[in-house]
Symmetry: C2
Subunit: 252 residues, 2 copies
């Protein structure tokens, strides 16, 4: 059985394209969902620009206070790809060419004009780092201590996460159940708070919405103990129905 | 003519639902795009959990080093909505009932059972705050100094941003143009870097992709000076075409 201590991770999204609004981030939700399955809680996220000092500050703050730090973005071959340099600087180590990554590039470019200096940039890693190889892409991610450096393109980041599945120590995964109700949040706010307090270890999130001209809310109950989730959901359903509200299983 | 100093904003996204992966964030891209039009650059984003100490720390770090701070989420009536309390605590002021917000609630609930204690929670603001009223929603946002407290539901946050349009001091808006090319990034990496250095005030972002079995990249040129953008784009196009690559205007 997994340990009951809570393991946490931070995510650092690196890229001007997110901050400019040009690109809709997909890595936060994707990484969060993957971490849940590993029994690791995503505790905080930062999005920063392609500026070395900013990345260094964020990397050192986040890796110190979480079990793991994931970064996405900035590992391509162009001038705006400075993640490897920044993470090396944050750790006080030089950037080196990783021999396995160089060999992968040499194989890939053998019939495509060979490895140029620009292409060789993709084999650069902080000294002491390991590669996160993956089945589908020639471009590996990079691991340095508790820092995992992933691609910015979401489907490549997903391949790198797949390669890490089951390799990181985590705790009990969080279990959640959702129910929905066509009720204004403010009518049941006190009941929700009292119900959460009555079920130790349960957390109730309330997510209101407006649809088809009516207000409603989904309630998400989370805990690392499935019995606590079930008891809390049953209690919520009983109280909502006693107040005359129909409850929709699995949410609206 | 607007000032040429750079105005910056930070965004603090508050909510367990983003960190759990349950909800795909839409407020980062929406706020970023709106800020661009106001001549304000989104400099950094943090996503934090519904935990008061965490919110307080982030609010104080972000509001100190940016001209503006926007927050989204946590302003509803339920027990997990702690944004107002946290931002009041960050400023060292008490939470009070805003008279205008109370009057709005009394009007709204006059024929719906009156204002209960739970409903009155939605009129709570940090002492000294103003409301961000908006045309379409009865729920106002809140402004306290340089901190703007918005709803978490993206279309309500958008109404609050609309209400603020044109009211914040900003600088020159950033202008951008995008071109696309079916070329591997690594082939033109050196050229991109040299071109950026040759056009002072221009920034070139390179965003690779894999589509239809081929690799390509879009190049986004940004500057506050449209003439600099145009000159830099023309230079890029000339060099890409000289290398034998067709350029797609407005990106691929």
């Amino acid at each position: 059985m997994a340990s009951s201590r809570t393991w946490t991770a931070a995510l650092l999204v690196i890229g001007d394209e997110i901050l400019s609004g040009r690109t809709q981030d997909r890595n936060i939700a994707q990484t969060a969902a993957w971490l849940n399955v590993q029994g690791i809680r995503l505790a905080e996220v930062r999005v920063v620009a392609d500026v070395q000092a900013t990345i260094v500050e964020a990397v050192n703050a986040l890796r110190a206070r979480n079990d793991y730090l994931f970064t996405t973005g900035g590992i391509g071959p162009t001038h705006d790809d400075i993640t490897v340099d920044a993470i090396a600087a944050a750790h006080g180590v030089p950037v080196v060419i990783h021999p396995t990554a160089r060999a992968m590039l040499e194989r890939h470019y053998a019939t495509r004009g060979g490895v140029t200096e620009a292409r060789l940039r993709m084999a650069r890693v902080p000294d002491g780092a390991d590669l996160i190889e993956n089945a589908m892409s020639g471009a590996p991610g990079i691991r340095l201590g508790n820092v995992f450096i992933l691609a910015g393109v979401p489907h490549i980041a997903a391949l790198m996460l797949d390669a890490l599945t089951g390799t990181l120590e985590g705790g009990l995964p969080v279990v959640s159940r959702t129910i929905g109700c066509w009720v204004p949040e403010s009518e049941i706010a006190d009941m929700l708070g009292a119900t959460e307090r009555a079920h130790e270890g349960a957390q109730i999130g309330s997510y209101p919405f407006f649809r088809e001209g009516r207000v409603g809310a989904n309630f998400v109950v989370r805990s690392t103990d499935v019995a606590v989730v079930d008891a809390c959901v049953a209690d919520l359903v009983r109280q909502l129905e006693a107040m005359g509200h129909a409850v929709v299983a699995d949410g609206i």
